[in-house]
Symmetry: C2
Subunit: 258 residues, 2 copies
């Protein structure tokens, strides 16, 4: 069994890296749709369509039999459609984050931040509420461009963090779910402002989900990253996180097949 | 003759609105590629491809015979290719801004701000230098998300403006070109910080360029806006700028034809 991972761009490499910790030799193929990033400002219909196209590329070319949706926006909208369409197990990044947040929160007052589309979907809120938590959510659309510009520290970044978070902090949350793969890079400054917070992201427990299928994993270390556009900003994060994994550009016409 | 306008998204509506001032009854068709916005973080190759696809849609469907590239990033990379491919006049948003900046600047020390891709292209810098100006440029990648979130005023916005602009201000510029269609919405706060600056954007003189072709303009008031994705954020700016122009969504499959 080989694993396919897709994301709207480069943020999902944090998920790829987390998976490698427990499955260093697994066959893993990653597609970052850098030609159409971000998904978080798109409509539900377009998010589902792009997700299906990315997953279809991975299935057709690498016969993946486990799909990780390493993008919270796609996880919020496209997972059911992907399951029905692909007929293979699909792991999203919403459930692992929620599970871990419920483990570590004492007050069960849990904050969730993400893109406009992720928060609008209510995916985190519904799952947390079903499990008895009180949820305080907030879209943080400036966080992705801040991270992509490399502004992960400093006065402006702290001010923006405070501007978004203070109102949900004031509600008494003890745990904050980072509902976007870019946000872990802001964790240090968030903790500088709110040192008592439990900060949870989707990489905390994703490997537990993969372990259910791990008996049939292929371990030939076939690992590759594909991107749909060679944007200059991509390489900074790629080389920071996974410098050793080979990279290839695919034409968008190979992806736009639906 | 009917006019086609395309932009990566909604910012180009400021250009559409400026054109309507002088040509209220002209036949004008606008395409905003909201399903793939922004272009400013994409590669040159992808920017050219997307631009050709947008222009082809307008040409095929409305037989436009004048194309306005209302996106500075596309103007910086794709204009020559568009001219060769379409065989109709193509007006970009770089030349009008530069022309006006050269008229109003006394010191001929001119600042230019834009997306990463626009500034990287050197399009403004080359044109200004050819005309004897000293140029100080700076990419401002947070400005588009600030505007799209509606943060056009306030402490955070002023701090970010200062963070980007202070170094080129210190060089002694007297004129600043806003090299991105979103940036005019930040003009007020830029002037609050630097009240003596001449602020120039592409809408200042674009109508002079159109006037060269205006004898053959069709004036049946056929005007329509097309978008490739109905993202919720689109409507705010559309209704603010051009509430009366009808709107239609087109499928991306009608655009991705190359």
């Amino acid at each position: 069994m080989s694993i396919g991972i897709f994301d709207s761009g480069i943020g999902g490499l944090t998920v790829f890296k987390a998976i490698l910790k427990d499955f260093p030799d697994a066959d893993i193929f990653y597609l970052g749709d850098t030609a159409r990033v971000p998904y978080g400002n798109k409509s539900k219909e377009t998010i589902i369509r792009y997700s299906l196209e990315c997953a279809t590329f991975l299935k057709k070319n690498f016969d993946i039999n486990l799909l990780i949706v390493a993008c919270n926006t796609a996880s919020s909208y496209a997972v059911e459609t992907l399951k029905n369409y692909l007929n293979i197990p699909v792991i999203d990044v919403i459930n692992p984050g929620v599970e871990y947040a419920l483990q570590v929160s004492k007050t069960k007052k849990i904050g969730v931040i993400g893109t406009q589309a992720t928060i609008r979907s209510g995916s985190y809120q519904k799952l947390l509420q079903k499990n008895g938590a009180k949820v305080y959510s907030k879209p943080c659309p400036l966080f992705v461009p801040l991270v992509e510009e490399g502004r992960i520290k400093g006065q402006i970044t702290r001010l923006i963090i405070k501007d978004y978070l203070q109102e949900i902090i004031d509600e008494g949350i003890d745990t904050l779910i980072l509902g976007c793969t870019h946000y872990p890079l802001l964790k240090e400054e968030i903790l500088n402002l709110y040192p008592y917070l439990n900060i949870v992201d989707s990489t905390n427990t994703i490997n537990n989900y993969i372990k259910k299928f791990s008996v049939s994993l292929q371990n030939n270390s076939n690992q590759k990253i594909f991107i749909t556009d060679e944007a200059p900003s991509f390489y900074t994060l790629k080389n920071l996180l996974l410098p050793e994994i080979p990279l290839e550009k695919v034409e968008l016409s190979q992806i736009c097949t639906l």
